[in-house]
């Protein structure tokens, strides 16, 4: 089996991202999926994209534009 290469985009491992680690993934051509060198995550590009969206669960204000008033703190 030939060596792995980067995919179309340089995807990070979504599982590692969720624990604040930026870990590049490599592409397994034979299985058509990405894999992480560090943890045990494997997934297709579609799965990676879906998991990246899932990683945003903690950003409840992701699309909220906030106005800061003239107050002194509140």
């Amino acid at each position: 089996m030939a060596q792995a290469r980067k995919g179309r985009l340089n995807y990070r491992c979504p599982s590692c991202f969720m624990r604040d680690i930026d870990m590049d993934m490599f592409y397994d051509e034979s299985k058509k999926e990405f894999y992480c060198l560090r943890c045990n995550y494997v997934g297709t590009e579609e799965d990676v994209i879906a998991k990246n969206e899932m990683a945003k669960f903690r950003y409840r204000n992701l699309l909220k534009r906030i106005t800061f008033g003239d107050d002194d703190g509140h």
Binding site: I21, D22, D24, R38, I49, L63, K64, D72
Partner: protein
Amino acid sequence: MKDKLILNLVHRPEMVPEYAEKIMGHGEKENLEKEPLLKESLDIFKLQQQIAHEHGLKTTIQMTYASLFNEEAVALAKAHHAEYGDEIALTLLGLPSTAFRNKYKTKDFCIWMFSYEDKKRIVDDVFSLFFEKFGFYPQSTGSYYMDADLINYIKEKYPSVICAIATCWEEGPKAYHATNNSWYTFMDGGPWNPWIPSKINTHVPAENESEDSGIVAIPHLSRDLNACFDGNGSNFGTHPQNVLRGMAYKDGQYPYLFNLIDQYRHLGKFNDGYAYNMMFVGPGWMNKMGRWEQPYTLLEQSYKDGIAYYGKLKKEGKLIDLTMSEFAHYYRANKTYKTPEVALWQDILYGSEKQYFWYLDPYLRTCVDLNQGGALIDLRPYVAKLYLPVGIGTPRIVNASYPFLIQANYRAGYFTHYAGEGTLKSTKVSYEGEEIDLALCLTKATFSKKGDERYLHLDPIEVVFKRLTITIATTITFKEATGEIRYARRIIKSSDPHAKVTFNDYMTGAFGTTEYPEEMYHIRLRVNDAEKSQEIKYHYANRELTIHNGISEVIIPDIETRITMKSVGEYETYVREGYAFSPMYTLGVMKDLKQGEEIETWLKLEKAA
């Protein structure tokens, strides 16, 4: 300029951008002179400059060593200085190049990590080359970090330098972990906004003229003072592609970036109208191959959108763009050495409503967590003015962080695990065998200022015991350049006005710069009054000393710091040694209060003799 956001917009023509060689050259041997790499690098710089100028913003062009060998880059800088008023400056980032490696025989590239002799050689080399190309020495320079010895050398040899990018805020173990333990920028503990660094330690603001290093320092990016305390600093700053790195966007929208800029504008409310932003995107973040999962189109668009927002603010009269040297003049004209920097900061991304209050002056830096009843979750003893040389040949080759006494995330904080304690300054209240730590009380605060004191007024906290309910008002006072923090907690309401509740205002501390404990054998714990002094030599034996009235004291020779706590009236004060599984120390003040009564405590940091 009062009530306007001051912007430093910085670009660098980095002929071998960080990341780009690794991305463009995957599967090939390293080659810093690949034609596509050099061309793309310069194209990105040109694009960044074009976007800024289209929006009416001037920039500071920080020439890199490699770019000084490129005639086109030099000519562009001269042309943009003439046409747009951009400042031509010199960065100590961007050293990697064939010329540099051939000369210095190393792949090191972080200026603060070189030996002191090499730092001087490199600085002389780079500054001479700059002079050769431009006919003058720069007024501004910078790197991710610049240690005090480096700044002192530059200022002495090249006195024209008045401004420098000198640290990345809270880029320490968190950045290291985020990069699979490969990014050696250990520089926690510094100011988040511009300051005048002392000659002895870059992170510590100068207290007076004799300590003044002669430059105004600015941080590398303006970072989220909430998200970066726990998360990766490189995800949450005034750097559009950092926001993408943190995945704080959806469908090409990233309101978080604009919320972040606006919150920095809002900080003017707490700092006499002064508000500041710094944006500095290295070219590697806008390379055509994309950056991680973000395609080039999004990288480019996010930069355009970020700059467009600054441009809009300028058109509306809400922003002033200054070059770095212009800013240095402004800063010196408007700040005193001892003027504190404060930030009542709210979470703008997670939806938690959490507030932090950050305070710094030449004596200390600290963070109050209003989600933890006003507990201190970070405390740095600037007053110790620690000389901590960094780089090859020193004991701290890569570690430029300024030590903490409290760092609630590195050393546990409010304790929720099996056994032990965590670093925190908080208050426990107890009644009939029940004990509640106010760190479990969610609150918010307002800010006020009078003279040389800054006040944080907490919304009242309610504590419910089985047979008693009390309401506590809290004011935290910071008196500038004293190293003192005063907590005043008063029972303003009680279900039984005669019931006595025991207040234990305590600080559990450690020291260090990382998550891992240091040896604590040198620490001395004392209680003192006018007549006697008792002492524990730290040996992990969990011993305790108590005294009526008096002062509790902890001496940490390793970081030349003395911590004391005291109160007024009748009270008990104590010190407690930790143990091997809980390598901490605690000092505190205890007092019984009923409705209408108050406990005042003073926590003071000093340089240990």
